[in-house]
């Protein structure tokens, strides 16, 4: 019967962000909200900051620090120029991700 469960679709429809702090999360909650902020950006279409085009999640190269998605070619460009992530300006080793 467990095999059947794989066909169940789960959609996030409510405002879960309001729900989390309302549970009384304070210290740890700060961290949790930040994580939610990052992942909330995935709720809509992903956009590469270099060419401003949509990136498919399965094809995206993600900045390991801020999770910003890049097209593979755009990430290669950053790697070849040793440029930092356009969003967080912290990660610069894109060569490690695209080789």
């Amino acid at each position: 019967m467990e095999e059947l469960l794989r066909r169940i679709k789960v959609e996030i429809v409510g405002n879960y962000r309001n729900f989390v702090p309302s549970l009384g999360v304070t210290t740890d909650g700060t961290w949790e909200i930040q994580i939610l902020d990052k992942f909330e950006s995935f709720m809509g279409p992903l956009e590469c900051p270099i060419d401003r085009e949509e990136v498919k999640l399965e094809e995206a190269v993600l900045c390991p620090i801020c999770m910003t998605p890049y097209h593979l070619d755009c990430a290669r460009l950053l790697a070849s120029r040793r440029e930092k992530c356009w969003k967080c300006d912290k990660f610069e080793r894109f060569d490690l991700l695209v080789t």
């Binding site: 019967m1 059947l4 794989r6 679709k9 789960v10 996030i12 429809v13 994580i35 709720m43």
Partner: protein, 280 residues
């Protein structure tokens, strides 16, 4: 659900890398592992969040047929007491959860159990045997004696038929449900196979559905056989009674409506046994 637990489930969902947009498919192993629970507890948590208006759970319509099969399996397990109380309750809870996802109303109760009503079936069986024996000896005794004994047997049979009404009706419903499900599974399977043959392609999703349908059909056939064999334990002269159905009905019709409907229900149950086995 505890607030901490809710938070954990939500975080697990929104940080699931397999999520696409705002939706993802339930993966029992991964979600269960990430939440540190079994997959059914994870599904229960999701159902609670759906009640809270945060999530929306849905499942494709073909799952409804498999849900009905699972529900029937639990009903049969309860009817024949194939499992312990705890195990049946836990299976029923799982099916109930699936029903919630499919937005179907699950039954509140699992129904009767055969062993509780076994003495009533045995009593009916005994009285019907008496009727058959009486009919066989009709030519050997005077009409007066025959009528006197017959009226006594008919009175007892009427009472036994009344007592067995509930369990026969439950049995009939269960057998009818099983046979209908077997037909639906066969139809659904052949429809997918036909479409695949026409298109000339085999999709893994369809193949897994065909496997699930085939497995469910096999399980239901096994359960039907088990229902029959358990029934024969309580009703040893089942076949003899049904062979003499017309004879009993015409000779002892005056026994009353309970007797007639008991015979009709038995015949309908038996027809399902025969039909399903023949087509299978």
């Amino acid at each position: 659900m505890e607030p901490a637990e809710t938070r954990k489930v939500l975080l697990t969902l929104v940080t699931d890398p397999r999520r696409f947009g705002s939706s993802l498919y339930f993966n029992p192993d991964v979600l269960g592992f990430r939440l540190g629970t079994d997959s059914w507890t994870a599904l229960e948590a999701l159902v609670s969040l759906e009640d809270a208006g945060i999530l929306k759970l849905s499942a494709p319509p073909e799952l409804e047929l498999l849900y009905q099969v699972e529900l029937t399996k639990v009903r049969v397990a309860n009817f024949l007491e194939l499992k312990g109380y705890q195990e049946i309750t836990s299976d029923f809870k799982r099916v109930w959860l699936l029903g919630r996802v499919l937005k179907l109303e699950s039954p509140q109760q699992l129904g009767l159990r055969l062993t509780d009503y076994s003495p009533r079936l045995s009593a009916l069986s005994g009285n019907l045997t008496k009727m058959l024996k009486l009919f066989e000896s009709k030519s050997l005794v005077s009409k007066e004696v025959y009528m006197r004994v017959a009226s006594s047997v008919m009175r007892e049979t009427a009472s036994a038929a009344r007592d067995a009404k509930e369990i026969l009706s439950e049995l009939s419903d269960l057998v009818r449900t099983i046979s209908q499900l077997i037909s639906r599974l066969r139809e659904a399977r052949s429809s997918i196979e036909e479409t695949s043959a026409k298109l000339g392609i085999k999709l893994e999703e369809n193949e897994s559905l065909i496997r699930a349908y085939r497995e469910s059909e096999r399980e239901l056939l096994e359960l039907l056989g088990l229902v029959k064999s358990k029934l024969l334990e309580s009703f040893p002269n089942w076949s003899a009674v049904l062979t003499s159905y017309d004879k009993l009905r015409s000779e002892f019709g005056a026994t009353g409506q309970d007797f007639i409907s008991a015979l009709e229900t038995m015949k309908s149950i038996n027809d399902k046994f025969v039909l399903v086995t023949q087509i299978g």
